[in-house]
């Protein structure tokens, strides 16, 4: 599989799976404004999924559509980072996961839109970047307000940070695919995104009065198809209809 296809899958699977997780909140958020915001975030992410997986299918050239890629692959062919498949937990965990991802996602899309030598990648990134900037603004703001809110909201946000922290490193670990992409100028070296992310995240967490966890362990595997046990359950729900009615169109 070409590095570019792999890259588009990684981007699209991140947004697909995170969009799925976020959409699980529908009707269950702590306040109506969050119901609206979460649906909106999920909607943006699914829209981006259509673009990235559409690109993956197009470059692959075997006639697979974005829907085929979303609905007909099993877990070991998914390329998202583990962070985005982690269960929603309480709203604090959902929000923290979103913030940690948004910070990376926005930096990544910004780089791609400004620098990618592959026109189609840059174009998708340009469309997605504005949405990601808005997601990041929103999630940073809430992390700050809840981190520096009540004792309980502080504790929950600190727990959420600890809960997800060891899953952030995977976003910055390069493999052969990344090396090839970086060399071609299509995508950045993942490690090169780390200082920017550290600075951004560090600033928000400081304002949120949250302490950065000490562990620097890195849980990884998602980007090469080794996921947590959670992904299979996500896919069982998500893919039910196309799997059960393979001849139907919807």
């Amino acid at each position: 599989m070409s590095a570019l296809v792999e890259f588009a899958l990684r981007m699209g699977d991140n947004t697909l799976i995170l969009g799925h997780r976020v959409s699980e909140w529908c009707g269950h958020a702590p306040v109506l404004e969050e119901d609206i915001a979460l649906a909106n975030t999920a909607l943006d992410l699914i829209g981006q999924t259509q673009m990235w997986l559409g690109l993956a299918g197009e470059i692959e050239g075997e006639g697979r559509t974005a829907d085929d890629l979303a609905y007909r692959r099993d877990a070991f062919d998914f390329r998202n980072v583990l962070l985005v498949e982690r269960p929603n937990g309480d709203f604090g965990q959902t929000l923290m996961r979103q913030f940690l991802f948004d910070a990376w996602h926005h930096l990544m899309l910004k780089w791609l839109s400004e620098n990618s030598t592959e026109g189609r990648v840059a174009e998708i990134a340009r469309k997605a970047e504005r949405e990601a900037a808005y997601h990041l603004e929103r999630s940073s703001d809430l992390v700050i307000r809840l981190g520096d809110g009540t004792d309980e909201s502080h504790r929950r946000m600190q727990d959420a940070l600890g809960h997800h922290w060891t899953y952030t490193g995977e976003m910055f670990v390069a493999d052969a695919v990344d090396d090839e992409l970086a060399e071609a100028g299509i995508a950045p070296d993942p490690a090169a995104m780390k200082p920017g992310w550290d600075a951004l995240v560090g600033e928000v967490l400081a304002e949120a009065t949250l302490a950065i966890p000490e562990s620097d362990f890195v849980h990884k595997g998602g980007r090469k198809g080794q996921h947590t046990e959670h992904l299979g359950h996500i896919l069982a729900a998500m893919q039910f209809l196309p799997r059960a009615y393979p001849d139907a169109s919807w």
């Binding site: 306040v31 609206i36 307000r145």
Partner: protein, 311 residues
């Protein structure tokens, strides 16, 4: 008395009543109840559709459904704001809902069992809602009327999307066709019930009509809905589950069977298929979210105190 007569005259002249205007307590209370109920319906209405978001069969259908549910939450927001102009807070209304004191549309106590139900909800349930809402654009209370104008635009879009799902299903594989017919079978009568009991049994109607809180009667709207919907069902090649359905040339509309009103009252009394689940979901969301709301308030207070200190 004098004031009430002047108020009624304004309404009769077609003037809009605005929040700062004098109004009878009954008018205020009835409006709060009705707008609150409408707002709650938008909120609870997220749940049956939310049940299929994670299982939507294509990315596009998933996106459309997400957008729709987002709109509905937005409608809830407009409506709570409209009700707040009458001197009740959103939190109070939410508590009334959770305590079982305020109602929401009974239709949302029916389950969504197949993907075709998502189509049927858009086509029939939103269709019935629009019938009501279009009329309410002319309601006498300004903020409510303006909320209805906004909402109607989006709802008609939702209805078309629902119908488009039904088209796909009804012209799809035999299983899809079966789901489509099954959805119509299950949602037909509950949709008819959405207009409320027959005029002769409707409690609050006369005064509400005079105040233009209600603009059409239940039976008028129901008839209109049937007349609009039957040809759509025919176009889909689906059968309306009513053996008595016939065109009545004389009245220029369909004759049709009454829904089972006992079922209506059962659902209203809490015995619908999903009442308990819906209320449990809402209560849990609210209770589990208390720390979140408290956290935001505490932060806002801290910031306000900082600003005060800095001044």
């Amino acid at each position: 008395d004098e004031q009430e007569r002047a108020f009624q005259d304004r309404i009769d002249r077609g003037e809009k009543i605005e929040p700062q205007d004098w109004m009878p307590e009954g008018y205020r209370k009835t409006l709060i109840r009705q707008i609150g109920q409408h707002a709650h319906s938008e909120i609870v209405g997220q749940l049956p559709e939310g049940n299929w978001i994670t299982r939507a069969p294509t990315l596009e259908r998933k996106a459309i459904l997400l957008a729709k549910v987002q709109d509905e939450a937005g409608h809830g927001l407009y409506l709570y704001c409209a009700a707040e102009t009458l001197g009740i807070s959103r939190d109070e209304m939410t508590e009334q809902l959770h305590a079982g004191k305020a109602k929401y549309s009974s239709i949302f106590n029916y389950p969504t069992l197949t993907w075709a139900d998502i189509g049927a909800v858009g086509w029939l349930v939103d269709g019935a809602a629009i019938m009501n809402q279009v009329a309410l654009q002319r309601t006498s209370y300004g903020p409510y009327s303006r909320a209805m104008v906004r909402i109607c635009k989006e709802e008609s879009f939702h209805q078309r999307q629902g119908y488009s799902i039904m088209m796909k299903m009804a012209s799809g594989t035999p299983e899809q066709r079966r789901m489509a017919q099954d959805a119509l079978d299950r949602f037909w009568y509950p949709s008819l019930m959405m207009f409320g009991p027959s005029d002769k049994d409707s409690v609050h109607s006369a005064q509400s009509m005079a105040w233009k809180i209600k603009v059409s009667t239940n039976d008028e709207l129901r008839q209109k809905f049937v007349d609009q919907t039957v040809p759509q069902a025919e176009y889909l090649g689906l059968t309306v589950p009513d053996e008595n359905l016939t065109w009545n040339e004389e009245k220029g509309g369909y004759d049709f069977s009454e829904p089972d009103w006992q079922e209506f009252y059962d659902v209203l009394a809490g015995n619908g298929p999903c009442n308990a689940d819906r209320m449990a979901a809402r209560r849990t969301a609210w209770e589990d979210g208390a720390w979140f709301r408290d956290g935001l308030v505490a932060h806002a207070n801290k910031r306000a105190a900082q600003r005060m200190a800095a001044e």
